[in-house]
């Protein structure tokens, strides 16, 4: 058995794929640092190399186009078991066929990539839907979120475009990093001494803008009033808006 070890980044995986091609070998697993090691295996450790990664990416783009690159990145973000091998298989097939294979859904690994891509995009969409900002005393709109996958970077463009005239922070409380937009550029940040509660996402009282409670309350009143009581349907509500999102939802959290 042959195992590759890489650093868990997308560039690292692309480097691993480069190694596999150059060494003309086919690893059984490509493991992230936390991955479950094989008992009896030859180990090859991959040092992430931006030039090699870029060359693999260029190749993928040449034959599969930008959409394929994005699809593979999204699939990678799903952190699904063995997604690395799936991506390696996909790249090999793509380089062999020298044309887009995205539509070959009768092919099992193409279909699996397709499904993972959709799963991750769905989570992206849910960030756009369910993120809620609270205004802080210094005028920054702050929004914590706990996405299942590491997708916050894929949402920055949307918020930057939409809220171009307000300062905001979106924060991934699971991976403990976020983005701050201060009117011109977006910067990646980590908050050391959190002024918000990780459980409720709420800013501490002294950090909060004085009107904030009014808006929260008005939104909750609206939320309650807009439902038709003859048609209550909590199952449907939970299907569309799963419970895991409730903790940071202004209208749902307690």
């Amino acid at each position: 058995m042959l195992e590759y070890l890489y650093d868990g980044t997308f560039a690292g995986l692309l480097t691993a794929i480069f190694h596999a091609f150059r060494r003309k070998e086919y690893p059984d697993v490509i493991l992230r640092p936390q991955g479950q090691r094989l008992l009896f295996a030859t180990t090859h450790t991959v040092e992430t190399d931006d030039v090699m990664a870029q060359r693999v990416l260029n190749g993928i783009e040449r034959y599969g186009g930008k959409t394929t690159c994005e699809q593979l990145l999204h699939a990678f973000l799903s952190q699904s078991n063995n997604v690395e091998i799936l991506i390696l298989q996909y790249a090999r097939e793509l380089f062999f066929q020298k044309r887009p294979i995205m539509a070959d859904l009768g092919n099992s690994f193409v279909l699996q990539i397709h499904k993972l891509d959709r799963r991750v995009l769905r989570e992206v969409q849910r960030v756009l839907m369910f993120i809620r900002f609270e205004r802080s005393a210094d005028g920054i709109y702050f929004a914590p979120f706990a996405p299942k996958y590491d997708v916050l970077p894929l949402t920055v463009g949307h918020f930057k475009h939409r809220f171009a005239d307000q300062q905001w922070v979106i924060y991934d409380t699971v991976r403990d990093y976020g983005f701050h937009y201060h009117g011109k550029r977006v910067e990646q940040i980590t908050i050391n001494a959190p002024a918000f509660s990780r459980d409720s996402g709420k800013l501490s009282v002294e950090m909060e803008h004085e009107n904030e409670d009014d808006y929260r309350e008005m939104w909750r009143v609206y939320f309650r009033s807009i439902a038709i009581s003859e048609r209550l349907n909590p199952t449907l509500q939970r299907n569309f808006m799963p419970k895991r999102f409730w903790k940071y939802l202004t209208e749902k959290k307690v």
Partner: protein
């Protein structure tokens, strides 16, 4: 009255309008402004009845000089009444928008004083949002029946979508329940908006700076079950509106018993949800599955079959077109197979260029084989289709399947 109280009353008064879509516009953010519209629309929450909340759907006022029998806001109804100010609504919209609660505003109103007075207020809210606050989020305005064409046109300059609600699916019944209304007064603003959209689109092709004019088009709503109109009547009207008025959406709203003492209305306690659902499915068949209205309802079948969905119902009535070969049928025919949606139809077309598809491929692509199996042939040994089994067998097998799915629930009930 404080603002919270107004929101409570005027949101509750707007809740029976079912439209909430924020799609169809991709207004970009203007430098220095706030907001943008997303082409596909975004839902931000789901209310306790399971419906999507995308826009702040609210009335400007629930005072009304008219007395439409089916409406909670009718003049003769004894309810608490209130009215926003323009500033209150503008600030509320911006405040909610900045917190990512909503995609924008859907504003409607009861008729205060007279139609133009009311329409003018709605237009002013939209104008202030666009011009003073440079708001680029979504705005949907409802036109007030009887409003002047000048105001309707001005509304279209600020709004992404306009709606003109027909409410009652036939003119005779409309006149009976809403004596102040008639079809011409409802349909004329619709035509006006349609012509405006066509004209502005033409001009935009030549002059890039022609302003937008209701870029997300117009929609309407029909109330179901308040009058004895048949599904054929309803769907023909809808199909006609899609064709002649270029409507983006027709919404169907199962009548909620909002008027319990008027003998002109049926005595029901729950809205006809199943029928409403079947009408939506039929509407989808017309818009995304290339079905014509006569294929769904006709002289022989003026009402929808509530026990099976309209597509399956069509298939059972037309066994002669099946089985369909998924490896050679064209797009139009693929869309007729029960269990195949627009997405899987496209995927079949793409995937079969690489290899011949068998049932396992189809299942992986997302075709619901439980249904489709009786209506297709694919790259493997043929199985029994509707030809061998006859429609009645297929119907009973498929409806039995459905019953099996809901069994756990029934079981629970019988326990208690």
């Amino acid at each position: 009255m404080n603002l919270q109280e107004k929101i409570r009353i005027l949101a509750a008064a707007a809740k029976y309008d079912v439209s909430c879509s924020s799609s169809g516009s991709d207004r970009a953010n203007q430098p220095g402004g706030i907001g943008s519209a997303a082409k596909a629309g975004i839902c931000h929450s789901f209310a306790d009845d399971g419906r999507c909340i995308s826009l702040l759907k609210i009335l400007y006022s629930n005072h009304c000089i008219y007395d439409c029998a089916y409406c909670v806001n009718r003049h003769s109804n004894d309810i608490q009444r209130t009215t926003f100010t323009v500033k209150e609504l503008v600030d509320l919209t911006i405040g909610f928008y900045r917190r990512n609660y909503i995609e924008g505003l859907f504003l409607s109103s009861g008729v205060i004083n007279n139609p133009d007075f009311t329409m003018e207020r709605l237009v002013r809210v939209a104008r202030e949002l666009r011009q003073i606050h440079r708001f680029n989020g979504y705005i949907h305005l409802k036109t007030i029946p009887g409003g002047s064409s000048r105001l309707v046109k001005e509304a279209a300059l600020y709004a992404d979508r306009l709606s003109v609600n027909i409410e009652i699916p036939s003119e005779g019944n409309l006149k009976m329940l809403a004596p102040e209304k008639d079809y011409p007064s409802v349909l004329s603003p619709m035509s006006l908006i349609k012509e405006g959209i066509v004209q502005y689109k033409e001009e935009r092709r030549i002059y890039r700076h022609t302003p937008l004019f209701a870029p997300a088009g117009q929609s309407t709503q029909l109330i179901i079950g308040a009058t004895p109109d048949s599904d054929r009547q309803i769907l023909s009207l809808a199909s006609n509106l899609y064709a002649t008025q270029n409507l983006k959406r027709v919404y169907y709203s199962g009548y909620n018993p909002t008027n319990l003492y008027d003998s002109r209305l049926p005595a029901i306690t729950v809205p006809p949800l199943k029928r409403e659902n079947r009408l939506y499915q039929s509407d989808w068949l017309m818009r995304f599955y290339q079905f014509s209205v006569d294929e769904i309802v006709n002289d022989a079948h003026p009402d929808l079959d509530l026990s099976v969905d309209p597509k399956l119902s069509y298939a059972l009535r037309n066994p002669h077109i099946f089985p369909i070969d998924v490896n050679s049928a064209d797009h139009h025919m693929l869309l007729r197979i029960p269990g195949v949606g627009p997405k899987s139809a496209k995927m079949i077309l793409a995937a079969r260029r690489f290899r011949k598809l068998n049932s396992q491929h189809l299942r992986r692509i997302g075709v619901v084989m439980k249904r489709a199996q009786y209506f297709i042939t694919c790259h493997e040994l043929p199985t029994a289709t509707i030809q061998e089994l006859q429609p009645e067998r297929v119907r009973s097998m498929l409806t039995m399947d459905l019953r099996k799915q809901s069994l756990p629930n029934a079981h629970q009930l019988s326990l208690w």
